[in-house]
Structures are given as structure tokens and as C-alpha cells.
């Protein structure tokens, strides 16, 4: 179960007794899905960061021009 928290590899229990073809396809799909989630998280982080920066500089310049 710790794989949910810690692991990038597919859980071994899902591969027990499966054929080599199944293991190959399952692993590729699992890792591909993991990459998508990581990419999505990175993109979200990037967009949030940009938004925060935009708000910061907008406020900064507003205060600057008011003075």
C-alpha cells in the first residue's frame, strides 16, 4: 500500500502471476500515467506561481505609482 505514498513502480501485487506480456504493458501504462500526473502537477505549480507573481507585481506597481 505504501506505493501510493512512495513508489513510482507498479505495485508488485498487481503483477503476481501475470504473463510477461501483461507485465510489460501494465508497467508502461502505469509509468506513463505517473508521468502525466507529475506533468499536470508541475504545470499547476507553474501557473499558480505565475499568478502569485503577477498579483505581487501588480500590487507593487500600484503602490509605487500611488506614491
Amino acid at each position: 500500500m505504501l506505493h501510493i505514498i512512495l513508489e513510482p513502480s507498479p505495485p508488485a501485487t498487481r503483477l503476481l502471476g501475470k504473463s510477461d506480456e501483461y507485465v510489460a504493458v501494465y508497467t508502461d501504462c502505469y509509468r506513463e500515467e505517473g508521468k502525466k500526473i507529475q506533468t499536470k502537477n508541475a504545470l499547476t505549480g507553474c501557473l499558480v506561481g505565475m499568478a502569485v507573481e503577477l498579483v505581487f507585481y501588480t500590487l507593487y506597481f500600484l503602490i509605487l505609482f500611488e506614491d
Binding site: M1, L2, H3, I4, I5, L6, E7, P8, S9, P10, P11, A12, T13, L15, L16, G17, K18, S19, D20, V23, A24, T27, R31, G34, Q38
Partner: protein, 229 residues
């Protein structure tokens, strides 16, 4: 994402004399239930504590699976095909937690999971653990229920959602002060779907010296191995 795994235990195993290593051999039956579909495999298993597992599946297909604290290897003797995962071995974690006295905390600490609280409810002691690095991002927690110094239940939660619950039952004393659960049940909830596992161990026996193949497994030289890292 890098797996939070350490090599210290792995190194310690290599340094330890084989006679000091606790190991178990047992018959192995693993049943799963997902979306109403049942599946099962059987074979034999060697577990060398704290972090080495060797499973030889004989039904429905011959398959060898070797798990260490930082690696998972799968090998098919007939086709001579292999898979080498250099980034972790999830199975070893939940199974190796069922060791009996005084080991659950050690294993969680090895995964950089720290205890944040502990309490008693009647005869049951309950401790709550969470990963160090995920402390601020997510509220992943593990609740450990122990009774009579034996692990009985693990509950994995994310905020208030239960991700999984593992039950460890039917302990037998296979050597002096060495208890082993012959039944492990795991109920996993993911995206509204439930995945159940039941693992049964038949005739578990303590081994003083584990077979060499589980300590030092290598793919045969002529095996076609796909590596993941």
C-alpha cells in the same frame, strides 16, 4: 519522484552473517477481488527479514519475483524474460510490516515516516505516522494498531479518506519470540473502486539460514531483461 528508500538495511543484510538473519519459508496463496472479478495465484515464498522477499509462483504461470528494499525483479524461467525495477518494491512494505515484535516502527522509520502520536485503547496501542516530506503538501497518515505487541491493523488515510486498510491475523509462533501472521487482508480504495487482497501462508517455518538464491538472486546470463529506473 524518487522513492524514499534507504540502502542501509540492504547493506546491513550483506554484512550480517546468514545465521543471524531471520527468515521464513511458507506456502503462498494470494487472492484478489476487483470489480467483482476474482483472481488467484499460488506458490511458495521466502521472506528474509528485514527486507528480502523471494516468491516463486507456480500457478497459473511460473514466475519468480524478488523484492528488496530498493529493487524488484521479475523473471520467467520458461521464456527467460526478466524485468528489473530499480526504483522500488512496494510489495515488501506491507508484508514485511507483519513481523511481530518491535519492527513496525523500524520499518516505517526506514521509509522516513515518523511517529506523530501514540495512545492506548484498552489493550490495543495505536500510533499515528506520516511521511516527513509530505507533511505540508498532503496529510497522508498511517495508523498502526498493535495488540499483545503484534501488528493487527494498518490504516492508510489521506486527510479523512481511507485509502487502504490491512489486517494481520492468525499469528503462529514459528520460533521463540518470532510470530508470523498466516493471513493478511488488504482493502484498497482508489477512485471509488475497491480492490481486495487476501494472502494466506501455509506451514510457515523459520529458517536459520535462508537459501542462497534469495540472498543473492541474479538473472541468468542469457536472460532478456528490461530495466526500469
Amino acid at each position: 519522484m524518487n522513492p524514499i528508500l534507504i540502502n542501509i538495511i540492504f547493506s546491513l543484510i550483506a554484512l550480517m552473517p546468514a545465521s543471524d538473519m531471520r527468515a521464513v519459508h511458507a506456502g503462498f496463496f494470494h487472492k484478489t477481488m476487483e470489480n467483482g472479478t476474482a483472481d488467484s495465484v499460488s506458490g511458495e515464498i521466502y521472506i528474509a527479514f528485514p527486507s528480502r522477499t523471494y516468491i516463486h509462483i507456480s500457478d497459473p504461470i511460473e514466475q519468480i519475483m524478488v523484492l528488496t528494499s530498493d529493487r524488484m525483479m521479475i523473471y520467467y524461467p520458461k521464456s527467460k524474460k526478466g524485468f528489473d525495477y530499480l526504483d522500488g518494491s512496494p510489495l515488501s512494505t506491507s508484508w514485511l510490516m507483519a513481523l511481530g515484535k518491535g519492527t513496525i516502527g523500524d520499518i516505517l522509520k526506514d521509509y522516513e515516516i515518523e511517529r506523530i502520536s501514540s495512545s492506548n485503547r484498552g489493550d490495543t496501542s495505536i500510533s499515528v505516522w506520516q511521511p516527513k516530506e509530505n507533511k505540508k503538501k498532503r496529510k497522508l497518515q498511517i495508523r498502526v494498531f498493535e495488540y499483545d505487541n503484534l501488528l493487527r491493523k494498518l490504516v492508510f488515510t489521506n486527510d479523512n479518506d481511507t485509502l487502504a486498510t490491512n489486517y494481520y491475523d492468525d499469528y503462529v509462533e514459528i520460533a521463540e519470540d518470532f510470530y508470523f501472521p498466516t493471513k493478511i487482508e488488504s482493502i484498497n480504495n482508489s477512485n471509488g473502486e475497491q480492490y481486495r487482497e487476501t494472502i494466506r501462508f501455509d506451514n510457515p517455518e523459520a529458517l536459520v539460514r535462508p537459501p542462497a538464491k534469495i540472498i543473492d538472486f541474479h538473472f541468468p546470463p542469457d536472460a532478456k531483461v528490461k530495466t526500469y529506473e
